[in-house]
């Protein structure tokens, strides 16, 4: 886990100078923002210290000396925040019977990644939409619709696994594309369109399931799902790695690779930075927006399939308020809700950070009520840190 993050650091710092940095069509505004940012961050170090707990002073020194890894950490402060929370978790973790650190047991770490895999998959999709300055509130309901769809197709309609998964993914893609079309072509605000989408998807989920939770039973008979679908609830590699965590990891790698220096990603940043300027400089704004929403819908549908496979049910009430958790992961990851600034790597770090936080609080016998308060404060702190200490 942590080793993977460090493996990615060098490539990250490379990406900051290409896909991650302000794109060609950057606005004067963002350019100005980056130039003042360095002065700001130097001046605001102490404030940053207070907001993020204890920031080791050697980091500041290292930052000045400019060694690659730490430089990247400083730039990607969501990764830095993740590292901070991770280390704190190691320190504050309860100890097992033989003195082992429970937080660091492979079982716990994989549980943690599995627990945020659905939110993480959603957040990856959301990043595309938020980068172009949009928002998608429908993803939670879409997850529910996809979960119900998977369950109904597999059991009542006797679809094969591939057929069911394809239909559900396609449905999610189409749902997203339609929302994107409404946003781009009808010029309705994304908030409104996807708020409507949230209701529509939830209603469809309830209609499709008859308002009842659809159980998935496995077997070869009629009305039973093929056994291969239950793989989603299993663990691979000698029963160590949960499949949902694996799917999240693979998708994360794909998304990071996809957003690295491709023309599409430059278009995303350009539109988010300044839509008018992007339009005049020949970026196919409408098409890019529609595709971004399509990807988001696709990811939500994938999360729904994972949800159904993990729980062996398609519940019409699945995924309520997941959109907010997904948005929280994106924001903690340093992506600006105004669009044009942020990174996929940040989103993944943000999702993991929230997962680590959930996990360590539960391990330390903190009740959920207090957890909510602490999580809220962390989100605010992370967002404030973006302002005080811009990642670029």
């Amino acid at each position: 886990m942590s080793s993977r993050a460090t493996d990615d650091e060098p490539t990250d710092s490379a990406s900051t100078s290409t896909g991650g940095s302000a794109p060609d069509a950057a606005t004067p505004e963002t350019a100005a923002g980056t130039s003042t940012s360095e002065g700001w961050s130097a001046g605001r170090q102490s404030a940053g210290d207070r907001s993020s707990g204890a920031r080791p002073s050697e980091v500041q020194r290292a930052g000045r000396s400019g060694s690659g890894g730490v430089e990247a950490l400083l730039r990607f402060q969501s990764l830095f925040g993740l590292l901070l929370v991770f280390l704190a978790s190691v320190v504050f973790s309860p100890r097992g019977d033989d003195g082992e650190i429970i937080f660091l047991t492979s079982e716990n770490l994989f549980n943690l990644v599995r627990a945020i895999s659905e939110i993480g998959i959603i957040a990856i999709g959301l990043t595309f939409v938020i980068l172009v300055g949009g928002i998608d509130l429908s993803v939670g309901s879409l997850l529910g619709l996809a979960a119900v769809g998977s369950a109904v197709l597999l059991t009542e309609d006797d679809f094969g696994v591939l057929a069911a998964v394809s239909v559900v993914l396609l449905a999610g893609l189409v749902f997203g594309l339609l929302q994107g079309a409404a946003v781009a072509l009808l010029r309705v605000q994304a908030f409104i369109v996807t708020l409507a989408g949230l209701q529509i998807a939830r209603g469809l989920a309830r209609l499709w399931s008859g308002g009842q939770t659809v159980p998935i039973t496995y077997g070869s008979g009629a009305g039973q799902a093929p056994l291969s679908f239950s793989l989603l609830g299993e663990r691979t590699f000698d029963g160590i790695v949960p499949v949902p965590a694996l799917i999240f990891a693979v998708l994360a790698v794909l998304a990071v690779a996809f957003l690295r220096g491709s023309a599409f990603s430059r278009h995303l940043y350009a539109i988010g930075g300044n839509e008018k300027a992007a339009r005049t400089s020949g970026v196919p704004v409408n098409r890019v927006k529609i595709i971004a929403f399509g990807i988001c819908g696709l990811c939500a549908a994938l999360a729904g399939i994972v949800h159904a496979g993990q729980l062996n049910t398609g519940s019409p009430n699945a995924g309520i308020s997941y959109e907010l958790d997904g948005i929280a992961a994106v924001v903690v990851g340093g992506t600006s809700l105004a669009g044009g600034r942020g990174s996929m790597m940040g989103t993944i770090a943000g999702a993991l950070l929230l997962g680590v936080l959930n996990n360590i609080l539960a391990l330390n016998t903190v009740d959920t009520d207090l957890q909510l308060v602490i999580k809220g404060l962390v989100i605010v702190a992370a967002a404030a840190a973006q302002r005080l200490w811009p990642s670029r």
Partner: protein, 336 residues
């Protein structure tokens, strides 16, 4: 961690001497396929125990009260030094991962009030098979990988509500409406089915039903619409007290509260609960749906401290609450 878990670990290692070894995961604890062996989990009164409570949703007053009952009962057992409450906020996925964390933590006992049966069956079984006793409250899981289930019988309560309406409130028959719990939820199905069995053969006719989602506000707006559609409504059956109260509010706004009777279920002994509503005359009757919180701690004490076995199922009795006995029931439920 407590010395208790350490000694338990030693016991597990002794059991697993045959080459299984002591891994870092807890999967090799406990007898495979079987539940926790009472000799393993029970360390008597000389130890301290950690209990994890996984609650489906604390947005419902009933479940808040359940947690309060657990907390209060646990406070009286000095050996239960840590009781941790986790709220899944009506989300199956969240509840599964919260229980997984509690397993990783190796709590000494789990109290689970499942959000839904099927999705939680796997993880509850995993806890039970890894040697952690599991007490289920209010809702079951599939299969039988748990120590004990404590809950009331929704269908029976629904039937009693129907019989009360048919025999006491409207012996001449009448036209009533039903405000159902969230569509798809098991208690809603059971309370509806039982009620129909209770009014069977009487002159009572259900002229309209609506999904009030267990919520007062939702029931109020649904009732307002039904009042417009039906000039005559003799009584309202709410699947829970908040919905019956919401219906009462709507009827009062429409000036029709006087001629209508309201019956709910749950009878929470809280200031905003159904027993007070009966006492203050807004509801004609309610039926106590016990939370089982205190009973769960009693069972936990028997498993961990007294080294006794507990019955696999315990059905809690209900009680009709009318204006006559409301004050007395309220007092009794709060003095336990």
């Amino acid at each position: 961690m407590s010395s208790r878990t350490r000694s338990m670990f030693a016991a597990v290692c002794a059991v697993a001497l045959l080459g299984a070894g002591c891994g870092t995961t807890s999967t090799n604890a406990g007898a495979a396929g079987g539940g926790p062996d009472s000799a393993e989990v029970c360390d008597g009164p000389g130890e301290e125990y950690t209990i994890g409570v996984s609650q489906a949703n604390v947005a419902e007053p009933y479940r808040v009260r359940m947690n309060a009952d657990i907390r209060r009962a646990a406070a009286e057992v000095e050996q239960f030094d840590e009781v941790q409450f986790l709220d899944a906020a009506q989300d199956n996925s969240r509840q599964v991962s919260q229980i997984r964390t509690l397993i990783t933590k190796r709590v000494d006992l789990l109290i689970v009030s499942p959000n839904e049966a099927a999705p939680l069956t796997g993880v509850v079984g995993r806890a039970y098979n890894s040697g952690i006793p599991v007490i289920l409250l209010d809702r079951k899981v599939n299969g039988d990988s748990y120590s004990t289930f404590i809950g009331a019988d929704n269908e029976r309560i629904g039937r009693k509500a129907g019989e009360y309406l048919a025999e006491q409130l409207l012996p001449e028959g009448g036209e009533i409406v039903e405000l159902r719990g969230l569509s798809g939820s098991t208690p809603a199905a059971e309370r509806g089915r039982g009620f129909r069995a209770g009014i069977e053969g009487s002159g009572i006719e259900i002229i309209a039903t609506a999904d009030g989602q267990w919520l007062r506000a939702e029931a109020r707006s649904k009732m307002a619409a039904m009042l417009k559609a039906h000039p005559r409504i003799d009584a309202v059956y709410g699947h829970n007290d908040p919905m019956a109260e919401g219906a009462h509010l709507a009827a009062r706004t429409a000036g029709r509260a006087e001629g209508t009777k309201f019956v709910g279920i749950d009878g929470l002994p809280t200031p905003s609960g159904g027993i007070k509503a009966v006492r203050q005359g807004r509801l004609s009757a309610t039926f106590v749906y016990p939370t089982g919180g205190a009973e769960a701690i009693t069972a936990a004490k028997r498993i961990l401290i007294d080294c006794e076995s507990v019955p696999r199922k315990r059905t809690l009795p209900t009680q009709l609450v009318t204006r006559e006995n409301a004050a007395e029931v309220y007092r009794r439920l709060n003095s336990r």
